[in-house]
């Protein structure tokens, strides 16, 4: 009750301070990004302060972000909602879906006018040669190698549903990235993959879409999901979104996807052109020149690394000291830091989402945890590696414990500690590129977009600066070493 009143108050306060803000999210594939861009521009044209947090992640990440209020709107598909998001409730039919979403404070537009369901695709020539026209035909060829996107492999409405409905017995089934799957298909490394029925790549790679003759896949009507609270806060934005209902036919969507995906036209431009043609909504496409883009991403990237590294240094050195002074607890500290390091970076990023949401904060937290081990371990090694004679001389001097640490032991361990920080920094520069997967920005953004669009220049736009930044970090530490490591220690090496 009080919470509700408070929320209303906050909403009112938000409304009072200028135009309402609308944050649109999207998943990591072209159509979602184009639709997200369309939604953001529509909301903007309706007077809201609209922001598009593009390519945030998979279904789970974006859905959670919507529930938590980190985004207000994102494009989704009815099949995904029924089979994946609300799978446990077993809802079917649009009314039931709306009802279940409503209980979570989420609203849904009507269909945008097209369906983009899962489908199974093969190269046209192979399909023709083998006489495969439907998925049932596919079931007669267990020797075919299947490669599915990782999400499809895991989703209840994906591979598990397909396999049991058609009793598929193929031995060679593996998971890969969506865009890589097409290339593997083209190269003949796999024979069939899952695809989205409006994918631009269907045309590009001359693929045959197999008929889902036994209806393993549900309907995947495209809709926008939005927080109902948004309808109160920014009603114009929501009614603007509703103007899209029934306005996009499947071939139109495939066209839009093809422009973005195959011709490399920025999603913002594709969306702007579409809105101008379809709804007569004009709008500038903010064209950000390469230097400005680079600068922004560099700032984002450096901020991620610098904050995480500073925190790792502030926490890691004291932990390393504690580990060195108390061997019992020390083993525990080192083991804990080691365990964190064994978690794959991607998994660590995703673990952070329920705790910290999306964006820079979870990325910084993950980078911090990742950066901890080299610093803790090297501080520990530097302190415990002091020769017994020196340790004894230090102990005999009549300095207090803290003074001994500060005046003798830490300076002696300085080269090792600095090497640890340096390792951490270089790891962080590389790992931070993954931050783009959860909306943290940085050099990972063009890399991910480049993988999605199969654009080498775009990948290089992220990869080259990231490599240069790692080299710069190395260089900076070389200088820092000269400043921080006492001359007497350097002379020996």
């Amino acid at each position: 009750m009080i919470a509700a009143a408070l929320a209303a108050l906050l909403a009112a306060a938000g409304a009072a301070s200028g135009p309402p803000s609308v944050r649109v999210g999207s998943k990591t594939f072209t159509e979602s990004i184009v639709l997200g861009e369309v939604a953001a521009r529509l909301a903007g044209a309706a007077g809201a302060r609209a922001e598009h947090r593009a390519a945030l992640g998979g279904t789970r990440v974006v859905w959670e972000a919507l529930l938590r209020g980190e985004i207000d709107v994102y494009p989704e598909y009815t099949g995904t909602i029924a089979r994946e998001i609300l799978a446990e409730e077993g809802v079917s039919g649009e009314a039931a879906l709306r009802e279940a979403l409503g209980r979570r404070g989420i609203g849904m537009t009507r269909s945008l006018g097209f369906e983009n369901g899962y489908a199974v695709g093969m190269k046209e020539e192979v399909a023709r040669r083998l006489g495969v026209r439907t998925v049932s035909d596919l079931a007669r060829h267990p020797e075919l190698r299947l490669g599915f996107t990782n999400e499809f492999m895991d989703r209840a409405d994906g591979w598990p549903a397909l396999r049991s409905r058609y009793a598929l017995r193929n031995g060679d089934v593996r998971g890969l990235d969506h865009d890589l799957a097409y290339r593997a298909l083209a190269a003949g490394d796999i024979d069939a993959t899952d695809l989205y029925s409006t994918d631009a790549d269907i045309r590009r790679y001359r693929l045959a879409v197999l008929e889902d003759d036994r209806h393993a896949f549900p309907e995947y009507q495209a809709v926008f999901l939005f927080r109902e609270e948004l309808a109160r806060r920014a009603p114009e934005a929501v009614s603007a979104l509703r103007r899209l209902e029934g306005r996009i036919a499947a071939p139109r969507m495939t066209d839009l996807n093809a422009r973005a995906q195959l011709e490399g036209v920025p999603a913002a431009e594709v969306a702007a052109d579409f809105l101008a043609e379809e709804l007569g909504i004009g709008g500038e496409v903010a064209h950000v020149a390469l230097p400005a883009r680079l600068l922004r991403r560099t700032l984002e990237h450096v901020a991620l690394v610098a904050i995480a590294l500073a925190a790792a240094v502030l926490a890691g050195i004291p932990l390393g000291v504690a580990a060195a002074l108390r061997p019992g607890g020390g083993r525990l500290i080192l083991a804990a830091a080691g365990v964190v390091q064994t978690i794959p970076a991607l998994a660590l990023l995703v673990f952070m989402i329920p705790l910290l949401g999306i964006g820079a904060r979870p990325a910084v937290a993950a980078l911090f945890l990742y950066g901890l081990l080299p610093i803790v371990r090297n501080t520990h090694a530097g302190l415990t590696g002091i020769s017994p004679e020196l340790a004894e001389s230090a102990a005999s001097l009549g300095l207090g414990r803290a003074a001994r640490l500060r005046r003798i032991e830490l300076p002696l361990a300085a080269p090792s500690i600095l090497a640890g920080v340096r390792t951490s920094a270089v790891i962080a520069v590389g790992t931070a590129t993954l931050g783009a997967l959860i909306g943290a920005g940085g050099y990972g953004q063009p890399i991910l977009a480049g993988i999605r669009l199969a654009s080498i220049p775009l990948i290089l736009e992220g990869a080259v600066p990231a490599a240069l930044l790692a080299l710069a970090a190395e260089g900076a530490f070389g200088v820092l070493e000269r400043v921080l490591v006492p001359r007497g220690l350097r002379a020996r090496r």
């Binding site: 004679e389 004894e392 102990a395 005999s396 001097l397 002696l412 300085a414 007497g488 002379a491």
Partner: protein, 252 residues
């Protein structure tokens, strides 16, 4: 007879790096120089660490100036100066930095430190220029002299030396022996020296304590040890050294 300044009373140390020590009782009187000698593994370095409080005895006690030694108190630590083989200098500090480390920590001003440095350099016969160098740039003898200066910086009551000349070449060693003996005489401090070299022990100390397997086998002057060895071990220890040393012609 004057009261002992430093004393081991029935001290026992188990599971040490060397043999199990003890029980050992030795009293060190103010101003005297005592050498602890014995073959390696006899426990002499462990005894020195007990005296210094780097190790705590498992039984018995160590007394300093009549009180039980509280080695955790830095002020008590500063009543000792400790010199190890090779000097034990901190490589991140210059010679002067090593010597002035603790004086600076206890709040001495720059003038006082500078005065003390030149006093100590004269005493240890160290070239002033060497003080500006880092340990890696010093010769073995210079490093050992700096180590001595560092041990003496706060004018301690007791000076403990663990094989101070062990790592030096014969010429440097002879030179430093002379300078050390003169310094001990000038200072009039209680000095406890650990060595495995009987000739060196006799050169510095009138009173020698022979150790074997963590126990005191005999105490006395070199003449006592030669004339009336307590057992076969002492007589063989002394004999071996005399044979070597007489060959070298350096035994006084």
């Amino acid at each position: 007879m004057t009261a002992p300044l430093l004393e081991l009373r029935g001290a026992v140390k188990r599971h040490s790096a060397e043999a199990e020590i003890g029980p050992v009782s030795i009293a060190f009187r103010p101003g005297e120089t005592v050498a602890l000698i014995g073959p390696s593994g006899s426990g002499k370095s462990t005894l020195l660490k007990l005296l210094l409080g780097l190790l705590a005895p498992d039984a018995g006690e160590v007394r300093l100036g009549g009180d039980r030694l509280d080695a955790r108190d830095p002020a008590v630590r500063r009543r000792f100066g400790y010199v190890v083989q090779g000097g034990g200098l901190f490589p991140h500090l210059t010679g002067a930095g090593n010597v002035s480390l603790v004086p600076r920590h206890v709040g001495w001003g720059p003038d006082r430190i500078a005065r003390r440095l030149s006093e100590l350099a004269a005493l240890a016969r160290l070239d002033a220029a060497a003080l500006a160098r880092f340990p890696s740039e010093l010769s073995g003898g210079q490093a050992q002299r700096v180590g001595l200066m560092r041990a003496l910086a706060l004018d301690p009551d007791v000076l403990l030396l663990d094989e101070p000349l062990g790592a030096l070449d014969p010429i440097t060693r002879a030179e430093l022996q002379e300078d050390l003996r003169r310094a001990f005489a000038d200072l009039g401090k209680t000095v406890v020296l650990v060595t495995h070299d009987l000739a060196e022990a006799a050169f510095f100390a009138r009173r020698l304590v022979v150790l074997r397997d963590g126990k005191v086998v005999q105490e006395g002057s070199l003449a006592d040890l030669v004339r009336a060895p307590a057992d076969v071990f002492v007589s063989r220890f002394v004999g071996a050294h005399r044979a070597l040393s007489l060959d070298a012609g350096s035994l006084p």
